[in-house]
């Protein structure tokens, strides 16, 4: 990424760079490849260590894929995950964008230092601590085991996070542009809607994707508060761990379905990613 460093490097440094990066990539890809392999193997082939290359060493089969995708439970879990994650993302963006914009643009008696402290103290708290109160809350609202219940809780956990990141995104907008808009007679709403939002769109999309993957991957509240009707993929996997944990092939298909959506989304958003994940601590 730094041409200066590459150009000045000796061939040994260059070779070393590629060797390390290739080994690391292989290490990263092992579980993905292993899961893909197993997902197209028959049950007997999964226990055969010499079945490595499809069509040569073993006959690939889609049995497991058909079985999982034809299973009502897994499809319902997939649907739950999609609904809960996108619902939360939409709500966080809806509530968070204006708040973040307001915090970035105007002065408040509560400064950004306090907000950061609040945010970090919230992260230190293990989510298990508030599990019981949320359970009672959902019981009272009659939202146990519903999509809305999960969305409500996930929004709570992701809202501060979203605001902290988006505030930094909005801070990047140059004052000159805003002043120019003011001179042209734009009112506060127009500045937000016609300048603020379009200029920070990529930052907001990254925020959305991070929030989406947080919700998608969350297991604790999902398993505890939505065990059946609104079970997400995480809950589904924890449940099938007990019943079919040893079936390599089915486990592989379930894993792939569960991990691929956020991974694929992440491939498209590398700008801002470091910043989003450090809650604005890193500017890149």
């Amino acid at each position: 990424m730094k041409r200066v460093l590459w150009l000045a490097a000796s061939w040994r440094v260059r070779a070393m760079t590629y060797i390390v990066l290739i080994i690391a990539s292989i290490w990263v890809l092992i579980p993905f490849v292993w899961a893909m392999q197993n997902s197209i193997k028959s049950l007997t082939d999964t226990f055969n260590p010499s079945a490595i290359i499809p069509f040569v060493n073993y006959q690939p089969t889609l049995t497991s894929w058909i079985k999982v995708l034809g299973d009502e439970g897994s499809i319902h879990a997939l649907l739950s995950s999609i609904i809960v994650s996108s619902g939360t993302t939409a709500l966080v963006l809806l509530l968070g964008t204006p708040a973040a914009y307001s915090l970035a643009r105007f002065n408040f008696p509560i400064g950004s230092k306090e907000l950061n402290f609040w945010f970090f103290s919230q992260r230190v708290m293990p989510p298990v601590v508030v599990l019981a109160p949320f359970f009672i809350l959902l019981v009272q609202l009659k939202l146990v085991d519903t999509w809305i219940g999960l969305i409500l809780i996930y929004t709570t956990f992701n809202l501060t996070f979203g605001i902290v990141i988006m505030r930094d995104v909005f801070r990047d907008i140059s004052r000159d542009i805003i002043d120019a808009a003011k001179v042209d007679g734009a009112n506060a709403w127009q500045i937000f809607w016609l300048i603020g939002i379009p200029l920070s769109l990529d930052g907001l999309i990254v925020t959305g994707i991070i929030v989406f993957s947080f919700c998608w991957n969350e297991a604790l509240f999902a398993a505890a508060l939505a065990p059946q009707h609104a079970a997400t993929l995480a809950t589904f996997i924890l449940a099938s761990r007990g019943t079919q944990g040893v079936n390599f092939s089915i486990a592989a298909v379930n894993t792939l379905i569960a991990i691929m959506p956020p991974v694929l989304m992440s491939l498209f958003v590398h700008r801002y990613l470091a910043r989003g994940l450090t809650f604005g601590a890193v500017r890149a």
């Binding site: 390390v20 690391a24 509530l95 307001s102 109160p133 996997i237 991990i259």
Partner: protein
């Protein structure tokens, strides 16, 4: 001159009153939401620690500090604290070192080959529960990939049937899953260091190890320490990977704190005990994190 300034001033004042309304309207919904759904549950969690509360039977009386005493006397609590601390102190330094080194090599690598970045970032977006679940098939002694490979080398490690094996397996997956976090942050800092810095340093030395140790590392340390802190906070909450991989077993031997607390709260519906456990842990983690925070700050001041 004076009059020229007046008219934009007046316009700005009008805008300010306009934006004053907007300022509060914009922040109100989020603020109300956060107050309603974070402060209230936290306060009731503290309240639960002082009552005898088992679901179905409801609150059956105030018991003072009994819940806390019960937790402090339970061996399972101290055991989980112990293994969680070990887990954190192995996994976090490993991830920090590996993540930084990989970022350094990607920084060296020409831009045309930056497909390494998305590959090395990918694990960060995987579902921990699914990785733990897949881990069963990687580590099980019958046909598991790791078991096969290690067995081929003559090492028969009982991954799934012992505490050491189970924790080690969970740690391997944890390092796989979380190294990208440090990697991504380090990469952001390393590429943000201006070319001139590297150029100047290259006039002095052509040794890349020195370049990394005396230029890249010190310059990224402030941000790297933030990464360390965040990673530390998250690692203390480790839940998904060990839960799906071992379920806390065999017995309670791999029951990290979050798993223990989860079982207490949800499987036994013992809210009083579960909440007391959580609050005590929160104190423990806060002290640990504050300690590291202060040490780190001294490090680069």
């Amino acid at each position: 001159m004076h009059r020229l300034q007046l008219s934009p001033m007046r316009r700005r004042r009008r805008l300010y009153s306009n934006s004053n309304v907007l300022k509060y309207v914009f922040i109100l919904p989020a603020a109300l939401w956060i107050i309603a759904f974070t402060i209230f549950p936290f306060l009731s969690a503290i309240n639960y620690t002082f009552v005898n509360y088992v679901l179905g039977r409801g609150i059956t009386g105030y018991v003072g500090f009994d819940n806390y005493i019960r937790v402090l006397r339970s061996g399972a609590f101290w055991y989980s604290l112990f293994i969680t601390s070990i887990y954190v102190s192995i996994v976090v330094p490993l991830e920090l070192v590996l993540g930084f080194l990989l970022a350094w090599f990607v920084t060296l690598c020409p831009r045309e080959h930056n497909f390494f970045r998305p590959i090395l970032t990918a694990p960060l977006f995987t579902m921990e529960v699914a990785i733990g679940y897949l881990g069963i098939t990687l580590f099980t002694s019958e046909g598991g990939l790791f078991a096969e490979v290690f067995g081929y080398l003559g090492l028969h490690i009982p991954w799934m049937s012992t505490a050491y094996g189970g924790l080690a397996a969970a740690m391997i997956l944890d390092v796989w899953r979380w190294t990208p976090f440090v990697f991504l942050i380090s990469l952001a800092v390393l590429t943000a260091i201006p070319d001139e810095m590297y150029e100047a340093a290259l006039l002095e030395t052509s040794n890349y190890r020195q370049l990394m140790a005396y230029i890249a590392l010190p310059l990224s340390w402030p941000v790297l320490s933030v990464a360390l802190l965040l990673r530390l906070i998250e690692a203390f909450k480790t839940f998904g990977i060990p839960l799906a991989l071992t379920g806390g077993g065999p017995g309670i031997s791999t029951q990290l704190f979050s798993i223990l607390n989860y079982y207490t709260t949800i499987q036994f519906y013992d809210f009083g005990n579960g909440s007391a456990m959580g609050i005590l842990y929160l104190l423990f983690v806060s002290v640990a994190v504050a300690f590291f925070y202060n040490t780190l700050r001294k490090g680069f001041e």
